[in-house]
């Protein structure tokens, strides 16, 4: 069996499963946020009753992150719905806005707060829940109805997906990042190339990536239509998980059998890749940066679950250090922990990352999803007119970051930072000696 099949089999009480099997599984963690939480809670109350209790208080995690720093009354009402539910159910894992516990983007908050463990099943009401596959678990996005069902029963039905295997060899050159790898993969297989399938990332090229870069790979499995992205846990994973999980829950590290039946396999030599961009209006609209170098850009955006982690900001700071941006540049840390680190971590013993960004002329926002998905019109960095933006985010379908006629280019933090300095799409190799 593949890694994904093994996890699903164990959670369904079966010795083995095969792609296509419909199975009921026990869920380890259910996550919801301010956009889908109110609807999920409504489904739960309607179907299990006003007095019902969630199946396991310790397994429900609520992380408001989408529409946080906005004057929109409806958006703020939705966070109140979460608060009332947490109080009613006495839920321990709630990261409320305006408190010390507030985190920001759920997919980064989950591992930081110890809610991701190898071998588990994590479901969340957000398509990028697949990010947590980086910890060797099965993680996927679901809707409100499914989440309401899980909330009451701890179970869901799943169809076992066939697994596609992506093998990376070699160590990434300094001008490439995990974002270039995943954009190359999506360019190869298309934004429907993994529909209904698992995407397993493997090979020495994956295991030399740090945890955050592995999260970037798994995060964008959904942009190829994947049900989940997954990477076998290694010592780096286990060390990270143990350093974060205060509950010290036991977990099972599994891996694909050597004769596991993969539906298809792709092999990449990462040393031969060049920086990649996804052009408007689809994540599979691939171009190499050197092919569209010089395309004028109006705005740069560095943030989100896929592009707002410390590794992303260290990379951007390496390019921006000592220079000035030519276009509006927005920096949004994914979580409050990352925001704090921007103030303390220094580049080459000199300025803090925050100082590098501010001195370069970038604006820094507060930890949240912000303009990655547009949101209310007063959202930090939102594209409110038909401009061109280069962004470290994960999706560029029409209107994703706000305006329907805006054009979004997806790229690595290195490429976005280099492009911010020129005001046009720029190869990061020009700024890396």
């Amino acid at each position: 069996m593949t890694l994904t099949e093994k996890i699903l089999a164990r959670h369904s009480g079966r010795a083995s499963v095969q792609p296509g099997d419909n199975i009921w599984v026990d869920v380890d963690v259910l996550m919801t946020h301010d956009v889908c939480g109110p609807g999920t809670i409504g489904v739960f109350h309607q179907n299990f009753g006003r007095q019902a209790k969630v199946w396991d208080r310790d397994k429900v995690v609520i992380i408001p992150d989408h529409y946080i720093f906005t004057a929109d009354a409806m958006a703020n009402r939705n966070v109140d719905v979460l608060r009332a539910f947490v109080a009613e159910q006495n839920l321990p894992h709630f990261y409320d806005v305006g408190t010390e516990r507030y985190k920001g983007v759920c997919h980064i908050a989950l591992p930081e707060e110890g809610h991701t463990r190898p071998g588990e099943i994590l479901l969340g009401t957000d398509s990028h829940t697949c990010t947590a596959g980086a910890f060797g678990e099965f993680a996927t996005g679901i809707g409100n109805t499914d989440a309401g069902f899980v909330m009451g029963t701890g179970k869901t039905w799943l169809k076992v997906p066939p697994t596609l295997r992506f093998v990376f060899h070699g160590e990434l050159p300094p001008y490439l990042m995990a974002k270039d790898l995943i954009l190359a993969v999506i360019g190869d297989i298309g934004c429907d190339g993994a529909t209904y399938m698992a995407m397993e990332f493997d090979g020495d090229g994956v295991y030399c990536l740090n945890i955050e870069e592995r999260m970037t790979l798994c995060n964008m499995a959904i942009e190829a239509g994947g049900k989940n992205g997954i990477i076998r846990a290694d010592q780096k994973t286990v060390d990270f998980v143990k350093s974060r999980d205060k509950s010290a829950k036991p977990f099972v590290v599994e891996q694909s059998d050597s004769d596991a039946p993969f539906a298809r396999e792709w092999v990449y030599d990462v040393t031969k890749l060049r920086p990649v961009v996804a052009k408007p209006h689809s994540p599979d609209n691939r171009a190499y940066v050197d092919e569209i170098q010089g395309t004028p850009i109006d705005r740069a955006y560095i943030g989100s679950c896929t592009g707002g982690k410390m590794t992303d900001f260290r990379a951007a700071a390496r390019i921006l250090n000592g220079h000035s941006v030519k276009i509006d540049t927005f920096v949004v840390p994914a979580t409050t922990e990352i925001a704090r680190l921007l103030k303390t971590e220094r580049i080459d013993g000199g300025q803090t990352l925050e100082e590098v960004f501010l001195n370069a002329g970038a604006k820094i926002g507060e930890a949240s999803c912000a303009a990655c998905l547009g949101g209310p019109s007063d959202t930090f960095g939102r594209l409110n007119s038909a401009i061109k933006c280069i962004s470290t985010t994960n999706r560029n379908f029409p209107g994703r970051m706000g305006h329907k006629q805006a054009e979004v280019f997806l790229a690595s933090p290195l490429t976005v930072a280099a492009s911010a300095l020129r005001g046009s799409i720029t190869d990061p190799r020009e700024y890396l000696s």
């Binding site: 719905v81 809707g143 049900k227 949101g375 029409p398 209107g399 006629q405």
Partner: protein, 190 residues
């Protein structure tokens, strides 16, 4: 929610990769679909994110809503190309189509979360066509759909198209979603 498996109505035609941000843009996600007065607002904004030239093919620039009703569309069946409902997992997407009066979508294939949400929430019937129909059917054509027989008739052009069987999700759709299905099967207390 009662899903009819025989549906007659007008077609609204879209292309490939219609993602859930186009079906219901993020700024409207502040409405709560479990509150009935807010549920109907999703109908008003259904497909608000589709660029005008891509809405109502083959001509384009045809809005989903007519002048008579800003919430409910005069169209009841969406015809689309590949990968319908890709992107965000928001259940607000099938909710928006249901609230706008869409009874079924016939696409080449779906992104899995949209398909799952449509079935489990019992909002609409997501069918797959054997052949690509978004370049054959025109917006406004009168269609007659039999979801169980797997047949779509175009009464305007006098053509019949074959649909793929609903398979294992048919009983969930016929029950009206995963909750009524699970109750009927004894998986949940009635």
């Amino acid at each position: 929610m009662n899903l009819s498996t025989i549906i007659q109505g007008k077609a609204y035609v879209l292309g490939d990769n219609i993602d859930t941000d186009q079906i219901i843009p993020a700024q409207y996600l502040t409405f709560n679909p479990s509150i009935p007065e807010e549920y109907k607002m999703f109908g008003k904004y259904a497909l608000a994110g589709v660029p005008p030239a891509q809405g109502g093919l083959p001509k384009g620039h045809i809005p989903l809503h007519g002048p008579a009703n800003e919430f409910i569309s005069p169209y009841s069946i969406i015809i689309a190309g590949r990968n319908f409902g890709c992107g965000s997992s928001r259940e607000h997407a099938p909710v928006a189509l249901d609230a706008a009066g869409i009874k079924a979508v016939v696409a080449e294939f779906y992104a899995r979360i949209f398909f799952r949400n449509s079935v489990n929430g019992g909002y609409l019937i997501p069918l797959e066509s054997v052949k690509r129909l978004c370049e054959t059917v025109c917006t406004g054509d009168e269609l007659r759909l039999d979801a169980i027989a797997g047949r779509l008739e175009n009464l305007t052009s006098n053509e019949t198209y074959e649909l793929k069987p609903l398979g294992e999700v048919a009983p969930i759709l016929e029950a009206g979603g995963v909750f009524p299905y699970a109750r009927a099967k004894g998986l949940l207390k009635a």
